[in-house]
Symmetry: D2
Subunit: 461 residues, 4 copies
């Protein structure tokens, strides 16, 4: 099967230029000007960009949380991702407390294998960092699950002590893996949250009020020092607070291999969204949406533009407002944490980044695809380059459309961006050589996506 992309402007992280692309089988075989070759299928990209398929390094399909499950399955969630121009996700396999990493991995393979529409990798969520599991980390790194997420939040569920985190970091310093951190001081947040509830604040806004941005900054600093002591790199998921970003900047200025992603919700939504009574539950995620007036959003944009932030993940973890979010009526602490977002990522970043003049198209590609590929060892993804996986998106930088639950493909009963008009859209999406979205038409199927064994990361930049 050969597919020819004609007439587009290829936008990579480092260069922009006209060019035709021939895909042969699953890979990019040829790039040239006005290619004169035969193909089974021709995709007309005239007037549009051809970009590497988006990589979302942070999703939670079917995640069990607080007595329920994130609504999107690997099938529905990966299909929605594809509609939004994302062709690879890295999801989180959760170690059962008291169990092994591999048990978590096996469970997640069961959920995902044969059901996912685009390529996927796994990070491991460490629920219980015991010394006896350290050797298993080495094995997983060798098997392409090179990254381990630990938490300083959620005591009794996911929280690891500083000593355990430090040991895990030291292990990755040896085995080439990478520790991912959810950085918030959970125990202290829980004190504030309990005080709020005791004082009568039980609505979702309490979630935002309890989780001070300085608690994220504190944990970020703590983890950077642990990583520094362990001589290990560290990656912060879902950075949301300017104070945390300042900590990161200082570490990077010191030459430390510290990295971070942010998420679209922290660039577009705010603490005020958590208001409006229980409706705010739709916007409950951790870290929480931040006070707009405090300037977090613009700082995060600066971080993306200047390279302090390497990637944009979504932390996609959708719960229906009806039936799921409602579990937290009367106590914001019981609202399942998470937002839908895997579908809107590229368009939101394109709109806020490129359309609003903050960044070049190249940087847009870098933070939505190339950056994650490089950091997470996806050595055949993240660029429109010969020999690379044919994960390609024909992106129309001019098409305007309106985000809505009535039109999105995620399996959740609301949109965080309901009614927001954005400029930019994925017209044609190819996953490893197969066109799975063609101008709104779904051509993919469960199982099109394969598990990707990842290489160790390159952290030298």
């Amino acid at each position: 099967m050969r597919t020819l992309f004609k007439g587009g402007t290829i936008v990579n992280a480092d260069a922009t230029g006209k060019g035709d692309i021939l895909v042969d089988g699953e890979r990019i075989a040829l790039i040239g000007e006005n290619l004169d070759v035969t193909a089974d299928k021709v995709v007309d990209a005239t007037g549009k960009w051809v970009i590497p398929g988006g990589i979302d390094p942070h999703t939670h399909m079917e995640l069990p949380f607080g007595g329920t499950f994130a609504k999107d399955t690997f099938e529905s969630g990966s299909r929605a991702a594809a509609f939004g121009g994302t062709t690879t996700i890295i999801d989180f396999a959760v170690q059962p407390r008291g169990g092994t990493f591999r048990q978590g991995l096996d469970t997640w393979h069961e959920k995902a294998d044969g059901r996912t529409c685009i390529d996927y990798g796994f990070h491991t969520i460490v629920s219980d960092m015991r010394d006896d599991l350290l050797p298993e980390m080495d094995a997983l790194v060798d098997e392409g699950v090179t990254t381990f997420k630990l938490f300083t939040a959620y005591p009794g569920v996911f929280l690891s002590g500083d000593d355990a985190i430090f040991k895990a970091m030291k292990q990755t310093a040896r085995n080439g893996g990478l520790i991912l951190m959810h950085a918030e001081n959970g125990p202290v947040i829980d004190v504030v949250a309990a005080d709020l509830v005791a004082q009568g604040t039980t609505d979702p806004i309490g979630h935002g009020l309890a989780r001070y941005s300085i608690f994220e900054a504190e944990a970020t600093n703590r983890l950077i020092r642990l990583a520094q002591a362990a001589k290990a790199p560290v990656y912060f998921v879902h950075m949301s607070a300017k104070e945390a970003l300042n900590v990161l900047r200082a570490a990077q200025n010191d030459g430390l291999p510290a990295f971070a992603e942010t998420c679209p919700q922290y660039l577009f939504l705010g603490l005020d969204d958590l208001g409006n009574g229980f409706n705010g539950s739709k916007f409950v995620c951790s870290p929480p949406l931040r006070d707009r007036a405090a300037g977090h959003q613009e700082e995060l944009w600066k971080g993306l533009v200047k390279g302090n932030l390497s990637a944009v993940g979504t932390d996609h973890c959708p719960f229906d407002f009806h039936g799921q979010k409602e579990m937290g009526r009367g106590d914001f602490r019981k609202i399942p944490n998470g937002l839908p977002g895997v579908e809107e990522r590229l368009d939101l970043i394109h709109h806020g980044g490129v359309v609003e003049g903050r960044m070049t198209p190249n940087r847009f590609v870098e933070i939505t695809s190339t950056g994650a590929a490089r950091l997470f060892g996806l050595t055949k993804k993240g660029a429109v380059a010969v020999g690379y996986d044919a994960d390609l998106v024909v992106y129309d930088p001019n098409r305007r459309h309106t985000l809505s639950a009535s039109t999105h493909h995620m399996d959740v009963d609301y949109s965080c961006y309901e009614g927001l008009e954005v400029q930019g859209g994925s017209d044609v999406v190819m996953s490893r050589g197969k066109v799975i979205v063609d101008n709104g038409q779904w051509l993919g199927k469960p199982g099109d996506g394969k598990f990707v064994k990842r290489e160790r990361s390159q952290f030298l930049r």
Copy 2:
């Protein structure tokens, strides 16, 4: 004329992968795996990298300085550059004091046109920033000379007052040009230098002692504030001091469009090289080589790795030790300022950067080629990409060789790196479709290089 590069690993700033490259005429026509095409010439790149030709954004061929001229002509200098894997230079056309920018440009075109072996662009050196010249800046930007270098050093020769610099910055904020700055507080340095001479320090070491690193940091901060007030970007040439880099980092953290290059000499040489009696004159350049113990070098490397520094220029400005440097015997202030270096740039950065484990090959490409291309509007250079100029280097990352005046191609009677063994070398160098260096053999000729009309820069990252 078609040339086929077979079997190499293409290393771009954003991706690495095996691929063959077909060059047709002056441009890259086709990239593919195992290309089965006819060509007039085949270059075997097996086991080697194919990288975009180096771009040196800072050279001074035939520069008049202190009563003499930089020794390398555009012919000899550009030939040496090519031997070192550099296929584009941006040289500085000097406005005569009292005259116009165009007069300088005309003079430099006379020197360069028809004589240069690789492509070249011009920055304008502003000797005398008068209000009546502001409109001429607009014209030059439109004509592809988009960048203007001003000085806070060399009073009476190049120094511009803060008010004049500010006006020039405001003009570029309007016309899309870019101000380049030599940032040192020259008037104060001159006081210190005079004191040193008065106290009997007349040897070259005095040059290094007089020019405190904090005088560079001061001027850097001053110019960043002027640029901020003018809402204009600013680019610092030859950043040498960690204190200046810290100022730059702070500005970038604040989201300001401030950029800088450093030079190989600041990464490899030190204040001690200015000692050893008059021999130190070989190492007299401004800013001066810095005290190794103070840690400037490692900070500059960090800046290159983390992206605070966008490019590596050479400030190539060679004077023979015999006859030229000797003009400053007895008074270091009379030593012509400048070092040779256009030829060793890539190999030094490869060695110190990649071989010594500080950066990825991709980042090496970015700082020696892509970064300058993007900042200086060389929209068809800086990447191995279809449609781009066929400026290509077959780079052997394993070849070891020794730097020496006895083997280099620069027209100057000494080498700053005499006897230094480095790993990495340019085996084959193609300039706009023509192989000009083939494993040590010179195939180019004066006039192969063309003046490049540059676009406005993209500063959003």
Copy 3:
């Protein structure tokens, strides 16, 4: 003549306690609990504080500026100061351009000697920093005029080049004097101001718009670097901008002997006061009043509380609105720069500092008296201590009163704080042993004040 202060609470910078004070002649002779001594006069301080008389290190009596003179003479201005609890001023003697420092000093002695009601010292304003004047600096330091103010603003009037400033700093590093700096980048401000006028902004607001806070920060940083290079201390007069304060903080963290004062107007007034048509001219001073929303005021308070700012001066330089300020109608650049304020200093700082809960009474005393005494070599002033000059104020921390031109004692036709009610007032003011203000009654006379020969400063803290 012996005066006994009975029943007060003595508030010094370091301690608070009940105590009676016997003044014998010009000095404090005895401090004790319930002193049982005879005295010619008894001052009842029951329920009030006894504090060291205020020291205003920054006044401009009768200053020639822009074709007119600051309205207050040494007589009227010093009388007003006394009513406000200030018993020492340090005024600025202006070197005539082309002349010597001593000529300026002689002129100012003529103005002040025999006419001033409280003690006074002189700083020298350097209008024209020539090499031949450097030895004269040594002489002045020996004679008790230990401080020299230079400017980076007012080109053609007061501005000194960086090289001249550096030489002056080096001279003080040798002779124990201290350089005071007006830190704003004047030449660049003048470009912005000219642009504003050209665009039709001629009202006083233009004064505030033209003088960006980052231009103050820039100059502050520049001067700190020059002082660092000269190994000399430096003191910034009238610091107004948070960005400048941040520069100062960084220098102090580095251990550099850099110091600063701020003025009440920067703590209480704002850019908005410069609006309201030409009425804003009343508030024209340099640096200008800053944008309240940008948070400069709270940062300056923090600087006072934490010790980054060592003193509060007033920059008292009053011009009548009618007849003087009006010289700038139609062009804000022609408005004489300066505000009245010598009288309100203590009460404003007490109100904003102590009453509003920002600082202890001890710190209030430190920044209004002790700090300036220590920095400016007034070794017998700044504390209620045996052997010290009997400059004493019975201060009522509870008395509320309203500031107004109708009641103030300064010779100027408006008040910057018209109608503002403040808490705290000087009930009895003694200058070197003589009560000159007694509950609103004036008992002093011209010539009561003597010129104070100052010692070299102690900069080790």
Copy 4:
């Protein structure tokens, strides 16, 4: 009983001047020039300073630690303190784990009451921060035990969780108390220490190697954020690391009420002292002595000079080398933590601070006495002022003497400063009106010292 100090120079934190002092009973009754009064005893201070008695805010007399007790009793330790010019100590009463604060306090009163030779107060060491103890904090604050020390080190012994610390801070925000913190990340240090032992490093040097300075900085930052969130002040005991000081500086620049002390050992001793086999055990304390080459000492001096550090404590906690330190032979983790030092504090700070030119005599007084008085609510101490406790020291700033275990008065078999010659010594020491040291002669007795009920602190500066 009336004592007259004649002819001395009174040095306070804010002023210096000649003056005689009459002490009547326990307080300073009169200060005057050439006092002509009768007295029971006359102390000749001619040519010397009279300073407020030193206040050591950090001692551990008879502390149980690691199976033994700090050697000095309240009697021997307070006597040694007095010989060194210190007239007040604040010791730490340890809550028994599972018990109440009051139980600890009762135990410490038993140890101290009637046995201590100088005045003393108590901080409470919190071993076990339970919610049910929060109300007891209020009671203790009212009773003059206003300060509570918590730890992020020593898991299982003293460590409190972040949530518990946060609750304690919130309680002090309400009751006016103050949290003191031992800031090191103990759990992570223990991992490093175990690794070192596992790798064969069992000598005392391991103690210094395991406790990275960044672990102190991390905890310092964490606690500052917790205090910020709790709107409470915080005080760091024994700050030793430049990285921690930088964290403190940043917090103070932000206006936060964060304070710290350092100790003489961190200003004079280094990591190298921990070497030399088991002899290094003499120097085992926590935080550990730091690497001299890294510049911690000079940064701490800067912090003292510039006011970032408010006081100097000793953390006096002596263990004999023979019999006590030896418990840790073969495993540095078993060496009792602590050094002797209560006696040498003033002379070391005078020597390093004043004699070596870093600070004024006034600042020396401030950091050895006034600062602690103000922070810890000793409202009648810390100054030579009428009505204040007659805690006075006739200090000879010129006397040179040599520190040695053979001459010191502490009950411990070694000196950390054996053979070090220092300049400055306490000739006469008066404690609340009684001369207890007279030129080397001991005139005091157990029980001369009284427990001091402290006021709430003033934190506004």
